[in-house]
Symmetry: C2
C-alpha cells in the first residue's frame, strides 16, 4: 500500500477470522492480502472493444486492437460504450444490438463495469427523426430507451441518460429531432421524461445527467431537477481540456460548486492531450480541425504531470466515484487529438505509466500479516476486491465501506 493520506473516505478496516476445512481457526499463519480491483471506477471510452469482441476487422487490425485492449484491461475497471443513436440505429428498426451486446459481455467477462452513452442527445441523434412530428419523436425516443435499456439490463446498468441539456434547446448548428422536442418540453421537462422512462426500465441502474457546461447554468439546472423530484444518481461532468488543463484551482472550484447537492460526481469524459493546445478562441471544440496533431515527448511529460495531479485531486474528493478518460488511445481519438494514454502505435505514453502506478501501486493495498491465537487478523485497505493467500490456499472477498468481522473458510 502506498499513499493513503487524505483517502480515509476510500478505506475501510476489516477483521477476518480464518478457518480451515475442518472449521478450526488458522492460527499464527502469515497471510498476504492483495487488492485485485478498486471500488472506484477508473474508466475509458473504449469503443475499440467492439472490434475485439466481434472480431469483425481484418486479422492484422484485430491483433492491433487486441494489444490495445490488453493495455486497457491491465489498468482500468470501467468502460464507456457508444450508443449514439445515429450510429447505433442508422436505419430505423435495425439497431446494432447484437454487436454491442457481445462487446458489453466481453468486457463484463473481464470484470469491467460498462456504461452506455448516451440514451438521449441532440448531437448524433437518429437523422430519421426529422421526418416525424414532435409527438412521434418523443414516442420514438421512449421506445429507443425501453428497447436498449431492457436489452442491456445486467450487462449495462449505468447510463448517461441525457447529454448536454443546457445547450439542447438553443443548439442551432443544425436542425434535429431532440432539440425540437426539448424546446417544447423545456430542459427540466425533457430530463424528467427521459429519467422516468429509463428508471422504469431498469429500476436499480445508476442514472447520470451529463454536461460539458460546468457553469452556474448546470448548477441551476441540477437544482431544478432535484427539486422536481428527478432521480439523478450521479452528476456527470465532462472535462475535455484540449485548450489546456484546468489546473487545481479551477478543478477544486468546480468540485466545490457541484458538491453542494451531496450527489456522487462522475468525471465522465476527461481529456488531457500530449500535444499542442487548441487555441482559446475556439468555442465549440468540434470547430477545430487540423491535418496533424502530433504527440510530442515534451507534451507527453506535461500530460503525465497533469494526469497525476488531476486524478489525485479527484480521487481525494469524497463525492467523486468515477473518472473516465475519453480516449484511451490516440488511434481514433476525438478530433484527432493526441488525447490517449497510448500512442497511435499502441506504445504507452508516460501518462499511462503514471496512472498505472497510481491505480495499481500507490492506491492499491498489499499487506502481509499474521493470524492471532483465534485465527483472526485485522487490516485497513482501499475499498475494492481482494485476494487473501495463506500458504497454498486462497480466498477472495470484497472490502466495502461497512465491513464487519467476517469468518472466512480458506481452501
Amino acid at each position: 500500500m502506498g499513499h493513503t493520506n487524505g483517502l480515509s473516505h476510500r478505506m475501510a478496516s476489516k477483521t477476518i477470522k480464518l478457518v480451515d476445512e475442518g472449521g478450526n481457526p488458522v492460527v499464527g499463519k502469515e497471510v498476504v492480502l492483495t487488492q485485485t480491483n478498486h471500488k472506484f471506477l477508473f474508466g475509458c471510452g473504449i469503443f475499440d472493444a467492439i472490434d475485439v469482441a466481434n472480431k469483425n476487422v481484418p486479422a492484422d487490425r484485430l491483433a492491433f486492437q487486441e494489444q490495445k485492449l490488453d493495455l486497457f484491461l491491465d489498468v482500468f475497471n470501467q468502460a464507456t460504450l457508444p450508443f449514439y443513436w445515429a450510429m447505433f440505429e442508422p436505419k430505423k428498426g435495425k439497431p446494432r444490438t447484437k454487436e454491442l451486446k457481445a462487446t458489453a459481455q466481453w468486457l463484463k467477462d473481464r470484470n469491467i463495469d460498462v456504461k452506455g452513452h448516451p440514451l438521449c442527445w441532440h448531437t448524433l441523434t437518429a437523422p430519421w427523426l426529422l421526418d416525424m412530428s414532435n409527438e412521434e419523436i418523443l414516442k420514438a425516443q421512449f421506445a429507443r430507451i425501453e428497447r436498449d435499456v431492457l436489452d442491456f439490463k445486467g450487462l449495462i446498468d449505468t447510463w448517461d441518460v441525457i447529454n448536454e441539456v443546457v445547450i439542447m434547446p438553443i443548439f442551432d448548428k443544425y436542425d434535429n429531432g431532440i432539440t425540437r422536442i426539448s424546446k417544447v418540453l423545456g430542459r427540466v421537462g425533457i430530463i424528467k421524461e427521459m429519467f422516468a422512462k429509463t428508471r422504469e426500465c431498469n429500476p436499480n441502474a445508476t442514472l447520470l445527467l451529463n454536461d460539458f457546461n460546468t457553469s452556474i447554468n448546470y448548477e441551476i439546472l441540477i437544482d431544478g431537477c432535484l427539486n422536481a423530484g428527478i432521480p439523478i444518481d450521479a452528476i456527470g461532468i465532462q472535462s475535455h481540456q484540449h485548450q489546456g488543463y484546468w489546473g487545481r484551482e479551477k478543478l477544486e472550484e468546480i468540485l466545490d460548486r457541484f458538491s453542494h447537492f451531496g450527489l456522487p460526481i462522475h468525471f465522465t469524459e476527461n481529456t488531457l492531450t500530449s500535444g499542442h493546445l487548441m487555441p482559446p478562441e475556439i468555442v465549440d471544440l468540434n470547430d477545430y480541425q487540423v491535418a496533424d496533431w502530433p504527440s510530442t515527448p515534451e507534451f507527453e511529460e506535461r500530460q503525465a504531470k497533469e494526469v497525476e495531479e488531476m486524478y489525485s485531486i479527484l480521487f481525494k474528493h469524497p463525492l467523486v466515484e468515477a473518472i473516465t478518460t475519453w480516449s484511451f488511445s490516440d488511434d481514433g481519438a476525438w478530433l484527432g487529438a493526441p488525447a490517449g494514454f497510448i500512442r497511435k502505435d499502441n506504445s504507452p505514453k508516460p501518462s499511462y505509466k503514471v496512472l498505472k502506478k497510481l491505480i495499481k501501486e500507490d492506491w492499491n493495498t498489499n499487506v502481509t500479516c499474521k493470524t492471532d491465537d483465534n485465527g483472526t487478523l485485522s487490516f485497513e485497505g482501499l475499498l475494492g476486491d481482494y485476494e487473501l493467500v495463506c500458504e497454498d490456499k486462497k480466498v477472495s472477498f470484497k472490502l466495502d465501506k461497512d465491513a464487519e468481522t467476517e469468518q472466512m473458510l480458506i481452501l
Copy 2:
C-alpha cells in the same frame, strides 16, 4: 382611440343595451365612451408617496412631493412601494407598518394598484439576521412574510416574493442572512419556501419572481421552479439600462426567451436615463458613483425616443402585463441617475409627455356612437375602465377580455 395596430390582444368588443330608470331602452341617442383606466399596469417606483400620505415632511417639501404625486397620478395606474427589510424593520419588532399602510391606502383611494417589493432579498435585508442561526433566520423570514402579507392584504395583493435569486447564494460583497440560508436551501429551494409561505398568507395574490439576470441562468431557474410546482404568477424582469438602451433586437430576444413559459411577464424595474451612459465595464451598477449625473436636453430627447419604442414593443407583446419605471423622478433616483420622467424640480421631461400621449391618447379608447332602435350599441376598445355619457347621464363599467352583451341602467 389612436393606434391599435397589433393590439388586438389588449382589446375587446362589447355590446351594451342602455335602459333608463323606467326600464325603457334608450333609443337613437348619441353616446360618448371614454376609457378612464387601463387593465395593463403602467407603474413606477414611487416611494415619495410615503411623504405625501403621512405628511411627515416639512411643508415646503410636502408641497413639492404633492406636486410630484399629481404628475404621477395623471399618467400611471400602478405603484411599487418599498419593503426592504433593513428599512422597513431596522429595529427588530418595530416595523413601519403604519406608515406603509397609510401610503398603500392613499394610493388605493386614487385607483392605483400597489405592489410590495420585495419580501425576501439578500441586499438591504435586516442586519440583525446576522446574529441568528440559519434556522432562526428562516423562521424570522417566514414570520416577516406572514406579518406583512397579512397586514397588507386587500391593500397590496401583488408581491415581488423573492428578488435576484440567480446571484443570491454566490453573492459575496458582504455577509448577510439571506445569502446564508439560500446556500443551504439552494436556489429553487428558497424560492419554493418563500412562495409557499406567501401563497398561504394571501392565496389570491399575484406573486412574482424577480431578477436582473436575463440570461439563460434565469430561464433555467424558472424552468426548474415550474417543474418543482412553485406557483409563480408572473415573471419579473428588471431592465435597468443605465449603460444604454437594450434596443429592439435584444428586447425582442429576451421577450422571446421568457415567453416560452406562457406566464405573464412584468417589467418590474425599468430605467432609461436622460444623461450620459454608465461605462460598459461596470458590472455591478452600484459600483458607479458620480458626484453629478445631469439630465441634458440632448439626452432627454434620446430618453423620450427610447421610452416610446420600448413601451410600444412591450405593450404589443401578448404576455407583458405590466411595465414599472423604477424612478418616477430624478429627485432621489437610484444611483443619482437622471432616470425619471420628471426632473429634480418636478418639471416633466419629453419622456413624460411622450408616455402620457401613448397611455392617455394613442392607446386610449374614446368613441362616440348612437344607440339603435333597441337601445343597443357595440364598440371595440382597449381593456380597462370606462365611463359612458349620454346627454346628462352617465354610467361606469369595465371592459374585460370576455365581454358579453350587458344591460346597463343609465341615471
